[in-house]
Point group: none
């Protein structure tokens, strides 16, 4: 030990499988932070709260402090007090891990140069008189160019185009505001007229098949003012993309309904966010939407039939701009008419990032942008795990992408006691011999099991030998295993325990669903690696994004073979990277160009017809 | 009656055979609007003009108001005053119907180089396959540039923009037509997708306050396929611009109604024209509208308040392009939904020529273009006579324009027995000593007198000495003169003659109306000449355009002093020059640029505040 360099001490966190390399004297709490282990530390690491309890399983740390009196009684230490003296292995009780947050609205932050698609100009033209009969628009344009002589003319003679909605409001607003207004100009077109000084707002939205996350931004400061998440209201018409395509194919009215409820949901989010910060939604002048190709088409009202039938081609892959009102977003109220609800600026624009393929959409482009996959200098795999999982591989300047149908198991669907990640869902499972530990969302009475819980469950059942390599559950292998044959199930929560209203079990079919899902993901990764002539161990970094990707336990995912066997420190969980990408393109035209470049560069690999896919998939179904 | 529901009263209009179902208390005028009966309502339904006379043949209406004194004398009621109390049958006299007039659809023809704003390209991309997964739009764009290598790219990477309506149809149409379609492209944007080979159509429309003339053109051959004229459906809301502005100012719903009925009328014309030549209205990809500034604003849904109040400035003077659907034009039907009626191409564009001032609109620009006033090498005066008369003067490369309120006398309004130029209207009058000759439109029994008739009448009465220079009618000067003082009148048609249902007279007030109208026109001409330092006799050419301008007798106009005393051969009557101008800009982008140049070049002269106007007007009131 003594001849090791000071910063080469290792701290392994189990059962998470995370490792930190730290200097002697570093606290276990700091080491946990470095390793990305979310230890509770309510008091900020001052030894007061006693929430960062861990068990030192091997190695030497500093002697207990007074603050650790209570913890010691349970054979534990406080991570904020214990400092490493040698290589250490630490067991982290479930109760010490910070419960993942529910809303997928936090993402990795990055500074970009503020360069939004719109710009506001305060203009004060002279009012008309009997000796100055210029039309309102002429008067405004001439005043604008006088006040801002360096403004490049948008057309010959320096004329501005006017959005029709903005134009219809213009004569009234000019007179109401005493000929002193702010023009919001986008691409040479006046899209909004507001009281002078009004800061224009933008809305970045990640439309997931299941959830929608929205961010309200000030386009003059670049600041994120508020964030909110909600369910995709289309969920009432089917939980996955194929069900919705099938619903839309029933007729034009059905397709319109899917568009209408989704746009209505966006309106609601815009209203909620503006209410949070006390702003008028009419100040929203630019919206960026990202979503998978099906969500992209449905929100635009494009036909989706061709997305549901081989060869699954999108109608539109290019980046797209459209007026919000053309999507049926709430129109601004006109004079003399009181309309309730949300109304964006009359000419508010909606920008959609490009799609890559029928099942690799604009949300994946946004994720690649936010995680800088296009400029990765390490061999990197990135995944956005959902009902469809998009996978990309960056190597030597190449970007390869594919999509695999991983199914809804990780969203709690098709699982016997499955449920969404809502209060009462078992989200963590730990099995030590006959001890069954679990944790529910918000500590609520257990009512079911969500994606990260079922993943943990399968990993742990395999670890303690309840499951065979092929997923079969061995009767008699554990006191909680009951039934026989295909009816075999594992009793995770007996009814009544912690006020559970009924038994929560994991059965043979649940295991099978997880095998199908993780097998598809793993096969996708393997095919991409094969396309690039790489071996799994060459992968230097794995970026896991999205809701489930944020909450899953990487150790469990490795244990079931969802990912290739790589050291845990090569994995990074980044939260809602697609939403972050949407925010980036909302405030930066440069990022839009980069996103377009990314979509163009991607080499799409179609799995369904790929020669190696079936073999890879079959192999990946096994549990390691 | 009493046990009927309030909204179940029926109003039958005979001999037209139209029926309305209305609530008790509805005016007969409103019922007529609902039934689509074009009752005259010059004053907008305020009881002032007395033109909406009808006979209540059966049923009960409210007792007569004071406004109905004159009508009652003839056994008639005013439709705007009488409200229904029971089921009612109403006889509508011929004179009360806004019968379609002779259509103002012929104009001077000119050859211009065909250079429309749109172009059609037949494209046949390969269908998608498992080895070719490009999106529909990508596939199309790449095929287009392959087939037409000299087509200049509309954006970087040669991408086309897509109109959203066209984009929504694209995936279905590509597959329906076996991957062989025609793209109609406008300014780098695909605005329509049609079966290969479909010739794109255009619609040129002159929206007059009273009448609308429309022309259907083949944009590949430049041929005018059909023409049609109709009444401006806004006529039911008031005959002149000010009445409509006032109606629109009542509220947003009213303003929208004015837009809606006008756009509906345009849809009807489009449908009628296409039916005439057996074409699908979905082939219409470009529409050009011209009209006075008020019609321009109303069809666009722009506020008109500021047009009704000094200093009468337009909201918009620049040329303008807008998607037809943004005006509420009929949208194309989508797959699976059967919609009747007219539908233009999804991305059909509407182009509006620039306005010059609040009362010199795009129609005058079109007229100046069609009559080549901008390149006149003679000193030329051009006039478009209507309720407002626009006058321009071309001299030494200058273009001066003004507008004068000439009133509705020449449209038959404010004249005792006045009527529109409809069958039965006296349109020509000749007095030789005691002989009274006249001619009615279509030779129908005389029921009233239209603009050209009243002009002739005043000219002839002055010629034979019945009228003094100041317009006073001299009692005893002719056997047909009857009454005394301000009650003096000239009996043009005795009741019974040629089956005339009643006397048709010209009274002192009628003379006065003609004096006011022609005085305003003459004063406008004189002020313009004064501005240019010219004398009247220097004018080498006078171009008279518009409906009344086509039918008026130039000799009579000279006789009453409407025009300066010039030899008749210097006058040319050109028909609907504004409509011709609209056709020119429909087929030629060069003409659009010229129109814009004209509007910019015009020196607008405001008469209402002009130092010389009152003097000129006073002098011009006299009869020579």
């Amino acid at each position: 030990m003594t001849d090791k360099l000071a910063d080469e001490l290792t701290v392994d966190f189990e059962p998470l499988g995370r490792r930190a390399r730290v200097a002697q004297g570093t606290t276990l709490l700091e080491a946990a932070r470095q390793a990305g282990v979310g230890l509770n530390a309510v008091c900020g690491g001052t030894g007061v709260c006693g929430t960062c309890r861990v068990r030192v399983a091997a190695g030497q740390v500093t002697p207990p402090t007074e603050a650790e009196h209570d913890a010691l009684a349970d054979g534990l230490r406080l991570a904020c007090q214990a400092r490493v003296l040698s290589d250490v292995r630490v067991d982290v009780p479930l109760a010490s891990i910070t419960a993942p947050q529910r809303a997928q609205i936090e993402g990795l932050e990055r500074a970009v140069e503020l360069d939004p698609a719109i710009r506001g100009f305060d203009v004060a033209p002279p009012p008309p008189s009997l000796t100055d009969l210029r039309a309102d628009t002429t008067r405004l344009c001439e005043a604008l160019h006088q006040q801002y002589p360096h403004l490049s003319p948008s057309s010959r003679d320096g004329r501005l185009r006017f959005d029709h909605g903005a134009l219809c409001q213009l004569p009234v607003l000019l007179r109401e505001h005493g000929w002193h207004v702010r023009l919001v100009i986008r691409d040479g077109e006046v899209i909004a007229v507001a009281p002078a000084g009004t800061a224009p707002l933008g809305l970045a939205v990640d439309i997931g098949t299941t959830k929608v996350a929205a961010y309200l931004m000030d386009l003059e400061s670049g600041e994120t003012l508020a964030a909110a998440g909600t369910m995709n209201p289309q969920i009432a018409y089917g939980e996955d993309v194929m069900t919705r395509i099938s619903y839309a194919m029933d007729g034009e009215a059905q397709a319109r309904e899917l568009q209408r409820v989704l746009v209505g949901g966006l309106d609601d989010l815009a209203g909620e966010l503006c209410a949070q910060v006390g702003r008028d939604s009419a100040a929203i002048v630019e919206v960026v939407l990202v979503g998978n190709t099906c969500m992209h088409h449905l929100v635009l009202g494009l036909p989706v039939e061709q997305l549901g039938l081989a060869p699954y081609v999108p109608a539109l892959a290019y980046p797209y701009d459209i007026k919000a009102r053309e999507l049926g977003c709430s129109l601004p109220p006109l004079k003399g008419e009181a309309r309730g609800g949300v109304h964006l600026a009359p000419g508010a624009n909606v920008h959609l990032l490009p799609n890559i393929a029928g099942f690799v959409g604009a949300d994946h482009v946004a994720m690649l942008l936010a995680t800088r996959m296009h400029e990765a200098d390490e061999i990197t795999v990135s995944l956005d795990i959902g009902t469809n999982t998009e996978i990309s591989l960056a190597v030597d300047g190449r970007l390869l992408s594919c999509s695999c149908a991983s199914g809804p198991a990780f969203e709690g669907a098709h699982i016997h006691d499955g449920m969404r990640a809502a209060p009462g869902a078992v989200e963590r499972v730990r099995l030590v011999d006959e001890l069954v530990e679990y944790q529910t969302i918000d500590g609520a009475p257990p009512v079911g099991i969500c994606g990260s819980g079922i993943l943990d469950g399968v990993a742990e059942l395999r670890k303690i030998g309840v499951l065979r390599e092929n997923g079969a559950m061995q009767p008699g292998s554990h006191p909680r295993v009951r039934g026989t044959g295909r009816e075999t199930e594992f009793l995770l929560v007996p009814a009544g325990e912690r006020e559970a209203p009924r038994d929560v079990v994991i059965n043979r079919k649940d295991i099978n669903e997880v095998q199908l899902a993780k097998g598809a993901i793993r096969a996708g990764i393997e095919v991409l690696l094969g396309e690039a002539g790489l071996k799994a161990e060459q992968v230097e970094r794995v970026v896991v994004a999205g809701a489930f990707g944020t909450y899953l336990d990487v150790g469990s995912a490795l244990a079931v073979g969802m990912f290739p066997p790589l050291p845990q420190e090569r994995f990074v969980q980044v939260g809602n990277a697609a939403g972050m990408g949407a925010k980036l393109v909302l405030v930066s035209r440069h990022c839009r160009r980069v996103a377009e470049e990314i979509a163009r560069r991607v080499e799409y690999v179609e799995l369904t017809t790929h020669s190696r896919f079936v073999e890879a998939y079959t192999a990946a179904l096994m549990l390691p």
